[in-house]
């Protein structure tokens, strides 16, 4: 399944617009943020595990990036 670069960018732009545009209706009121406040709901709960995984996948696979910058920094591209 080949994804064209242009399609990818368009997909990204529309996803972002969907979020930003429809954003005012989405969300939780300030008194309903109890679950979001939990440590277990943070996007990255264990940075060192995430870092090790990023490093392993960066050196064994062709793709990189996603949550943040790709691993880099080592001669294992």
């Amino acid at each position: 399944m080949k994804i064209k670069a242009l399609h990818m960018a368009a997909l990204a732009a529309s996803a972002a617009c969907l979020l930003l545009g429809g954003c005012s209706s989405l969300g939780a009121k300030s008194w309903d943020r109890d679950l979001m406040a939990r440590r277990s709901m943070q996007p990255v709960t264990h940075p060192l595990i995430a870092g090790a995984d990023d490093h392993i996948y960066f050196s064994k696979e062709g793709a990189s990036g996603g949550r943040s910058f790709d691993g880099g920094g080592c001669g294992c591209n």
């Binding site: 064209k4 954003c23 989405l26 277990s40 264990h46 062709g62 001669g75």
Partner: protein, 457 residues
């Protein structure tokens, strides 16, 4: 002034109320939550230290790595954060040299680390032999790989040290500005980078938009110099060091969808230019009829790579558990397209223990210059590499994480994972006797990470 012995009714009641207030509560800052599963404490004003060690082992005697890492996050009163991460990495084991397996033994020659010894005495080093190239006084290393096995180069050992620094400042209006840099050094490679980022909240902090830019400069300095692309493998010293530079942009939006669902979308664009070839890797040139290896050439990869990815991640707090579901689409100018899907479910067991099984599925298509081998007599392509990480394969990871609250919001954690790549071992286009050989060189690996995270003032 002395306290009188007889206390009034109100004072007695007050004393009881106060005892109740502090009895259950205990010392709140240290025991921010009795339960690791609904802990909402923050690290404001605290210093958090997170230390872990990764043990990684590939099957078949291939790469083995041990990587201790420590990170320090200093949070001050006003939301500013200083972050330092130190990593050390020790790699040993065998790694595929890029040649295809064959029905007979194969011998490879590569420059030796013990250059300058003007002697014809040969000695053993690991699985290889030191030889002198005839007609020269150059010492090279020669090793033989048995028939019907994946050619690997053993005695590969490396140590890497890296430091990452980052600082995030919070302005009065809540905007966050980040700067950071990193430096990594191993014997034959060094890298340094600098990054800046900006993040801002909207919609009563339900939406966060962020953008970041990263610049990286790497130097490849193999001990024997850098071979010219697609030249014949030999034991002599080559040219000098090579560089590459990377520029990355990540733009993202994080949105609280409702009380229990957080979604994040990131778009990344990266441009790498410069030397991206693996200077140690070769590719077999084989006979077009029988498939026998004729010669070995050093591989070559393009000097320019434009990468894009779209990442969508979700955290859902449902039915007492937390689910993490994410997907990533990737495409680059080398022709690699990849899809990734990851799911993890954090399940509380007791108030201080949880378990988190996870699964990751990955699929990639090959780079347009990927070749299992080259055919003798055909025109040489501009670029060619047999590195499995540029080939077509699927990969699955099964993982299990365990977390235990030790004291306050300190945690002991363990994550074990089993990773396996699967690809086409016997492609239909294989020539001659190569049809019988397993041409897929992907990895199967196990990793264990053990870590401890604690915070203090």
């Amino acid at each position: 002034m002395q306290l009188r012995k007889r206390k009034g009714r109100l004072t007695t009641a007050l004393g009881l109320m106060t005892a109740g207030l502090f009895a259950g509560a205990g010392v709140h800052a240290q025991q921010a939550s009795h339960n690791i599963n609904d802990d909402t404490s923050t690290d404001a004003g605290l210093t958090r230290v997170d230390t872990a060690v990764l043990f990684y082992q590939e099957a078949g005697g291939r790469v083995k790595a041990t990587e201790p890492v420590a990170s320090f996050t200093l949070n001050d009163d006003s939301g500013d954060v200083l972050h330092v991460k130190l990593t050390a990495d020790t790699l040993t084991g065998a790694t595929p040299n890029g040649a295809a397996p064959w029905t007979h033994d194969q011998t490879f020659i590569t420059p030796s680390k013990t250059q300058g010894q003007k002697t014809t005495v040969t000695s053993a080093s690991g699985n290889s032999t030191l030889v002198t190239i005839p007609g020269t006084d150059v010492t090279a290393r020669q090793y033989t790989v048995p028939a019907n096995t994946l050619p690997v180069d053993s005695g590969f050992q490396d140590q890497r040290y890296a430091i990452d620094l980052g600082y995030t400042g919070t302005r009065d209006n809540g905007d966050r500005l980040s700067v950071g840099g990193s430096y990594s050094s191993e014997r034959d490679y060094s890298s340094m980078s600098a990054n800046v980022g900006y993040a801002r909240d909207f919609n009563d902090k339900n939406t966060t938009a962020s953008v970041a830019l990263n610049f990286e400069s790497d130097t490849s300095k193999p001990f024997f110099g850098t071979p010219d692309p697609l030249t014949q493998m030999s034991g002599t010293l080559k040219g000098g060091n090579r560089q590459k530079t990377v520029l990355d942009l990540v733009a993202g939006v994080s949105q609280v969808m409702n009380r229990y669902w957080l979604m994040q979308v990131n778009y990344s664009l990266g441009d790498t230019s410069g030397y991206q070839t693996d200077p140690y890797r070769i590719i077999s040139v084989v006979d077009g009829e029988g498939g026998a290896p004729v010669r070995y050439l050093y591989e070559s990869r393009p000097g320019s790579r434009l990468r894009q990815s779209l990442y969508i991640g979700n955290k859902l707090a449902l039915w007492g558990t937390v689910a993490d579901v994410s997907a990533r689409l990737y495409h680059d100018s080398w022709g690699i397209n990849a899809e990734t899907l990851e799911v993890a479910e954090r399940i509380p067991l007791t108030s201080f223990l949880y378990v988190e099984p996870s699964y990751r599925y990955y699929h990639q298509t090959k780079a347009n210059f990927f070749r299992d081998y080259l055919i003798d007599g055909q025109a040489l392509p501009e670029n060619a590499s047999s590195d499995s990480r540029l080939g077509s394969f699927d990969a699955s990871t099964i993982g299990l994480k365990l977390g235990m609250r030790v004291r306050g919001n300190d945690e002991l954690y363990l994550r074990a994972a089993s990773y396996q790549q699967t690809g086409t071992s016997h492609p239909s286009y294989a020539v001659g006797d190569l049809k019988q050989e397993n041409l897929f060189t992907g990895v199967k690996a196990t990793s264990v990470i053990l870590g401890y995270s604690f915070a203090f003032y």
